[in-house]
Every structure is written in C-alpha cells, then in structure tokens.
C-alpha cells in the first residue's frame, strides 16, 4: 500500500512536553514517536487515558506545536493552510457553535473550505440526511443531545470530502446505531481509498475498521502492525458449526483428548448486543414511533462514495434488515469468514456422524443459538483445523499442517 508514494502522515522523533505556569517542563505527553500512515490506510491509534493519542492528533492538526521532532502531512508541515483543505477532523467532543443551526453549521464550515454555494447546499442536505438529522436541520446545535451534536460533528468533518480523515473517539456519546453508522462510514471511506486516522478507547471499533494500529502507552509507541498480525492467537484453534447433539460433542471432545491430549471447550456463541439493539430499533422505526432525536441515517452521499460502492444502502436499515426479517436470522450479519467455514466443517462432521449434509443456505438461516464454538487451547505451533485435520483425527493420525483454509478460525 505504501509503495513509493509519500506517506500521508510522517512523524520523526516527535515529542511533546507540557509545561507549567512558569514554563518549566512537567509532563512528557509524547516521546520520540515515529509513525507513518500511508494513503488508503485506516489507521488506529490506541492507548489508555493519558497515553498521548489526542496530543499526537493535535500536533498533526497544528493545534499543538511539537517540542521536538518533525511532522509532515502530505509532505508539508501541519501549519500549512493548503494541507488543511485535504483534511477532515472530528474532535473528541463536538465543539460546535451553540447558536448556529445544524444547517448553518455545515454551511459555515463549507464556506471555510471555499465550497461554492451550490455544492455547499447539496452536501449539507446529503450529510444531514446521512447522519439522520434532516428533520432537525434548522434547530440550534446548542439544543442537541451529545449524540446528535456528534453526528453534526461527523458531518462537518466530511463536508470537504477529505482525503485524510482524523477521528478522535468518533463513537463517543453515540447510541449503537450512530456508532455502527460511523464505523460503516469509516469502512466505506476506507474502501474509497481515503486515509483515516482513528483514535478510540473502544477497542472493538478499532478492531472492526482499522487495517493497522499503533498502541501508545506513556507517550511512546508500544506496538505497531496490522490488526490481523497483532490479534491472531496462534496458540488457539476455533471451530464454529451449527448445533450438534451432545453426543457428537462428547465424541469430538474425546477424539481431541485422545489424539491431542487437550481439553476442548464447547459453548454456544451469543448475539452481539449491538445487533440485538439494532433489531429492536428497526422494529420501532417500522412502527413509526416518533422521536425528537436522530433518526436512522440515510445513504452516504455520492460525493463520499467510491465507484465500487454505489450499492451503498440505507445504513441502519440494511444493518437491521436481516434481524427484523423473520426468515433471516441475526447471524446473517456475522462476518463472511464465519459463514464460509461452516460448510466444509459441517459437511465433514455430518459425514463423520452418518448424517445427510445440510445445504449451505440452510446453515445461514440457522440462528446463533444453534451454533456451537469449539476452542482448543494449545501451546503448540499453529494447527490447521481443515477437513484434512478432521480426516486425520478420524483416522487416528495427526497431520500437521501450516495451511490456513476457510475451515479454520483463529480467534
């Protein structure tokens, strides 16, 4: 991804020390940070409170000046005004003018980007629709709830169709719909090739959307890499399948114990509360229950869409559609990877147990409560759990393999 192109963000030996009233150095908020974010990356900045995430972002934006070190954005210093027209910024709180209406707020920021009136009006309407606040467009932002203000904050960050989007705690203060919506927007923008820097305490947010992350602690970089590299548990193997009988489970566990001398845990996976919540809200919306707050967001505006993402749909509607439709279970929202692994494993197990194979479509219709997770802890090197392994298990042989197929899941 980096190629030979100039990184969007590059820091070298970046330090920031906060001083006291007498200008004596007191707290080193960022120490020797070297970071590169390349075009098209969705980059996560993680760390506990006081780890220097927000300070780093503020330095990138020219809101703070580095004590030492160098920052370049698109090859220029962050104080360069021309760079700012390529950046969108959502701060950790929505610092909006209380006396401006939602529409005026977006118009104001659009003017600062020198957008022509026609484009401003159009984008304002589309963004308000996207964040679900079209019906509150002429209400002063000061009267908004925190979540609604946050949505306007997101809209203002997108008004210039930025190449580089900086989001500081983007889901803070948002209801699950808003949080999911923002994550979806981030994903879509990432697909379009936008560069995104995301700072969040909500680790699942970062995990869901980021390609690469840097973990900060004490103002220093502690870990850096891709999400997959960092999160893959090489010493645990997980299989997911539709519910099987207790007898089958017992046999599989015995088999694992016999061949591998390891105990396997068997549980039923749970719905994510987020999914369940979205389903309930969708039902309320279908019943046309009135609300003064944000409504389900509309489509992501065209000007933010990719050429390949024209199929972008009503976000919350699509998110909850599967859950609200009786014939499609919530598990339909599970990542494709999970769905893919069901078929071969189930086929093998059916074969093992002398049952008729189940069609893949039927498996998708099964609810989460009919699925079973099997996890095996191991201190050995990574183990593939594909059909070959199952065959080997059944044949009493253990065949090691480094292959990773669709039937393997590493939590």
């Amino acid at each position: 991804m980096a190629g030979t192109k100039l990184p969007v963000v590059q820091t070298a030996g970046l330090c920031k020390t906060f001083k006291d009233f007498w200008r004596r150095p007191r707290i080193a908020a960022v120490k020797d940070l070297n970071m590169e974010i390349h075009a098209g990356e969705v980059f996560g900045l993680l760390g506990p409170n006081g780890s220097g995430k927000t300070t780093t972002i503020k330095m990138l934006l020219g809101l703070l000046y580095p004590t030492h070190g160098r920052i370049s954005l698109f090859g220029k210093p962050p104080t360069d005004v021309s760079v700012k027209s390529r950046i969108g910024f959502l701060p950790e709180e929505s610092y909006l003018y209380r006396f401006l209406t939602a529409r005026e707020t977006l118009d104001f920021f659009g003017r600062l980007f020198r957008l022509p009136q026609k484009i401003r009006v159009e984008r304002t309407a589309r963004l308000l629709d996207m964040v679900g606040l079209s019906h509150e467009a002429d209400r002063p932002v000061g009267e908004f709830s925190k979540g609604m203000a946050r949505r306007i904050g997101l809209a203002q960050a997108l008004i210039n169709d930025p190449e580089f989007l900086i989001l500081d705690e983007p889901t803070s203060g948002l209801d699950p719909i808003g949080a999911r919506q923002i994550k979806d927007v981030i994903r879509r923008l990432g697909q379009k090739g936008k560069t995104i820097l995301l700072s969040s305490h909500v680790l699942s947010d970062v995990e869901d959307v980021c390609d690469n992350v840097t973990i900060l602690y004490g103002g220093q970089e502690q870990a850096v890499g891709s999400i997959d590299d960092l999160l893959c548990q090489q010493d645990v193997t997980q299989m997911t399948m539709p519910t099987v009988s207790d007898e089958t489970i017992r046999e599989v566990k015995d088999l694992i114990l016999r061949l591998e001398n390891k105990n396997a845990d068997v549980t039923h996976p749970r719905h994510k509360l987020e999914d369940f919540f979205l389903q309930i809200v969708s039902q309320a919306q279908s019943a046309d229950v009135k609300t003064s707050g944000a409504r389900a967001g509309g489509e992501v505006p065209d000007f933010l869409k990719t050429a390949t993402a024209t199929e972008m749909v009503d976000l919350v509607g699509s998110l909850v559609a599967a859950g609200s439709a009786p014939e499609v279970p919530v598990t339909a929202m599970a990542p494709p990877k999970t769905k893919d692994l069901v078929d071969p494993v189930r086929g093998v197990l059916d074969e093992l147990l002398g049952k008729e194979p189940v069609e893949a479509d039927e498996a998708e219709e099964a609810s989460a409560s009919t699925e079973t997770d099997i996890s095996v802890a191991s201190s050995k090197p990574p183990v593939s759990a594909d059909s070959n392994v199952i065959d080997a298990l059944l044949q009493g042989e253990h065949k090691k393999s480094d292959d990773t197929t669709s039937s393997e899941s590493n939590p």
Binding site: L63, V81, K84, I87, P91, F99, F113, R114
Partner: protein
C-alpha cells in the same frame, strides 16, 4: 476574502443570537427614544435638543464601547470552549480569523451606530415638533441657526504674548529685579508674565475699546447670509445674572466690508451669539470686531464697569459651512473610528488572555484612552519638579508610572482628541480633516498595529495549549 467574510458573518450571528448585542441594542433604543421625555435642558427648545443629543450620543458611544469589548471576548471563549479547534483546522489562516472577527464587530457597531444616529435625528425633529413654544419662531430660529447646522468656528488672533513676556523678562533680568527673590524660577516667571499680558488684554475698562481680529473667514459673503459672533463675558464687581450694556461694531469699512453696529443688553456669564450679515467680512476674508464698553441706551443706568472676555470659550466667529445631516455623519464616523480601535484592542487581549482578564485589560485601555488628557495633566503636575531617584519612594513611584505611561501612550490614543460630541451639539462643524486624522491615527496606524500584534500572538499561540 470568503473566509474573512464567513468569520465576520459568524461573529455578527453570535452577537445577535447570544443576545449580547440585542441587549445593548435595546438599551440604546431605550435611551434614544426615552430621553426626550425625561431631559428638557434649560427648558428652551435649543436646550432640550442639545441636552438630548449630548446625552444620547455619549450614552451610545459608551454602550457601544462596552459592547465591543464584550464581543471581542468571543475569541477567548472559542479558545476555552474549543470551537477554535474546528476553525483553525480548516483552510483558513489565523490572520483571516482575526480580521474576520474584527470586521464582524465593526459591521455590527456600524449598524448600531447608524440606528442610533437615525433614531436621534428623528427624535430631534420630534422634539422640535412637540416642544411647547416659548419664544415661538425665535426659539426655532435659534435652534436651526445655532444647533442644527455645521458651523466653522474661528478664534480671534491674539498678540504675541510670549514674545512680549520674554522681552519684559529680559529687561527685568538686566535690571536685577529677580536677584532679591529667594525662590526664583525663570520658567515660572515667564509663565506668570504671559498670563499677565493675556489677562490684561482680556480686560476692557469703562469707555475703553478693544479690537478683535479674525482671519480666514472663508464663508459666502453675500448680504443674505450671516455670520455669528459668540462670546461670554464677566463683569467685575457685579453679581451674577446682572445685565451689562455695550456697543459692538462688526466689520471694517477700510477693507471694503460693510460695518454693523449693535447695541446690546447682555446677561453676564452667559454665551451670547450676535448674528450679522456675512458682508461684514472683508475681501481678504478678515473680520474686525470691536467692543466699546459704553452704555448706548439713554435713560438706562449703568455704573462704570470692567468687562472681562473669557479665555476659554472666549470670542469666536462662526459661519455655516455645511448641513446638520452631514455633520452627524461625520460625527458618527469619528465615533466609529474609536470603536474600530477598541475592537482591535479587545481581540489582542483575547488572543493573550482568557475572558475576564481580556475584558478587564480592554476596559483599562478604554479608560486610559478616554482619560488620557486628564492623566497627562495629572502626571505632568506630579512630575513637574526635577527628578531625583532617591528623593522619596513616593516620587520614585510616580516617575515610574509616568515612565510606563509614556511607553504605552504611543499606541494608546487620546479619545478626547477625537471627541466631537460637544462640538456637534453646539452646531460646530466636525470637519472632514478632523475625521480623516482620526481615521489615520486610530484606524490606519494604531488599529493596524494592534491587529498585527493580535495576529502575531495568535500565530505563536498553541490553540490546544495545556498548562500543567
């Protein structure tokens, strides 16, 4: 420019929607529309109009000054409440933010000032229309000729008193008159001599004559136009409100001007305006006015008295050079210059300090600018003696304050130098030159310097600065 205008619009919207400006607008409206019903002056029509205009203009200037300072705190508010995070991360330069805010404040002030001026103009005509007649047509004539006009005032030429005083001083010195004086101060002696010559010249004894010469009377000298001679006199030995009688001759026939003789009965210690046809002005635009201290009215008793023409508010010749309306516009322009300067000061303070400190320092500058003449006089008086650093702590402190004051006075203007309200109320011309000089000093030079400083500090400042 679009960004500057955007920031300016936002500033205006803030002023109106946050109700700060609205409160001041209501106050100004209440004063302008309420004063005519509560202020009557000396109960004459002229007095009522003058009092109304004086109070309403002073109150408007003061309120808009306070409003400007409150409005400028918007910048420090945006630092505190972090809206500035969103603005400076947009493609807008910091100088554009400062200039935009200043422009927004100035436009709001200009609008309010226009409203106040227009309302005042309307209310002047309302007073004229509703005021109970006293001297009937004469009262209205006085108002039209002496207040609702723009008159240029010329002071009379006075002899070269410093030269006369210096000559006498040197003569006395040569004669050794001062050798016997134990506390002889040559400068003080010179000052006393000048005052003596000036006082003598202003005193006109019984049956004495005094000529007052005016030049540069650049008026229309047609017979149907008029000039006005204005003066105030005291009489030694008489109680106040006594009347004195005298003869005034206006015009110099030797220079081809028409001469007019006026026999007057005037109350002492009051301003009197004598209206004379403008053809009393000579071809060379000079005017001779002669006061003869005799009683021209037969049968009316008058003791031999001594007239004294005052130095301040003394003899003046006034002639109409413009309309009341344009005079009002020029006055408002002058007031606007002060507000523009004050707005720049407020923004400078807001870039450096947070809300209460910024407002307090801006008020201090406002007060210093307003009272600069007084402060200068006070400091001059206190530091008049030769300075010795160790003479006393008190003296040292006074000189230190004077020294600091001298350091800042180059950038803090004297508002009283550009205070045209009194002249306007008295129907004096607020000259374009005066307005331009106010604009030059207050706006072109000092506002630009102050805004430059504000921009400099803003660029230096970390918007998200944290002090731990």
């Amino acid at each position: 420019m679009m960004q500057v205008w955007t920031i300016a619009r936002q500033m205006i919207a803030e002023g109106i929607r946050m109700k700060i400006a609205l409160v001041f607008f209501v106050l100004i409206a209440a004063i302008v529309f309420g004063l005519p019903f509560s202020v009557t002056g000396d109960s004459s029509l002229t007095g009522a109009v003058q009092s109304f205009m004086s109070y309403s203009l002073m109150a408007t200037g003061l309120l808009l000054g306070v409003l400007t300072i409150f409005m400028s705190r918007s910048l420090s508010d945006e630092f505190v409440h972090h809206q500035m995070f969103l603005v400076v991360t947009k493609p807008v330069s910091r100088w554009q933010i400062i200039v935009g805010k200043w422009l927004g404040m100035s436009l709001l002030n200009a609008t309010f000032l226009l409203f106040a001026g227009a309302s005042m103009y309307g209310m002047v005509h309302y007073i004229k229309w509703t005021h109970p007649p006293q001297d009937g047509i004469l009262d209205e004539q006085e108002l039209n000729n002496e207040v609702l006009v723009a008159r240029h005032a010329r002071e009379c030429n006075v002899p070269d008193f410093p030269a006369l005083a210096e000559a006498e001083f040197q003569r006395d010195l040569e004669q050794g008159k001062y050798e016997q004086q134990p506390y002889f101060d040559p400068n003080l002696q010179r000052k006393n001599l000048i005052n003596k010559y000036d006082a003598r010249w202003r005193v006109i004894g019984p049956y004495e004559t005094r000529e007052f010469l005016f030049d540069n009377i650049l008026c229309d000298r047609s017979a149907d136009k008029e000039i006005q001679v204005r003066y105030k006199a005291d009489i030694s030995g008489y109680a106040q409100d006594e009347i004195f009688r005298a003869v005034w001759r206006v015009g110099d026939p030797d220079k081809g001007a028409k001469a007019y003789e006026l026999h007057v009965r005037h109350v002492i210690d009051r301003f009197h305006t004598m209206r004379v046809p403008a053809n009393a002005v000579a071809d060379d635009h000079t005017l001779k006015v002669t006061l003869v201290n005799v009683n021209p009215f037969e049968g009316e008793m008058q003791k031999g008295n001594v007239l004294h023409i005052r130095k301040s508010d003394g003899m003046q010749v006034l002639f109409i050079v413009g309309s009341f309306e344009w005079n009002l516009v020029r006055l408002l322009s002058m007031m606007m210059c002060k507000l523009m300067f004050l707005g720049a000061v407020g923004l400078l303070m807001a870039t450096v300090f947070s809300f209460p400190v910024a407002c307090l320092t801006s008020f201090t500058v406002y007060m210093m600018a307003g009272m600069r003449s007084f402060l200068e006089e006070a400091l001059d008086f206190m530091t008049d003696r030769e300075f010795s650093m160790f003479s006393s702590i008190n003296e040292f402190a006074i000189h230190s304050v004077a020294y600091m004051y001298n350091m800042v006075q180059w950038v803090i203007p004297s508002f009283s130098r550009y205070d045209a309200v009194e002249d306007f109320v008295n129907g004096r011309n607020v000259s374009l030159v005066w307005v331009l000089s106010a604009m030059g000093e207050l706006v072109v030079i000092k506002t630009v310097i102050i805004l430059g400083l504000a921009i400099f500090f803003f660029y230096r400042r970390e918007v998200a600065e944290v002090s731990v």
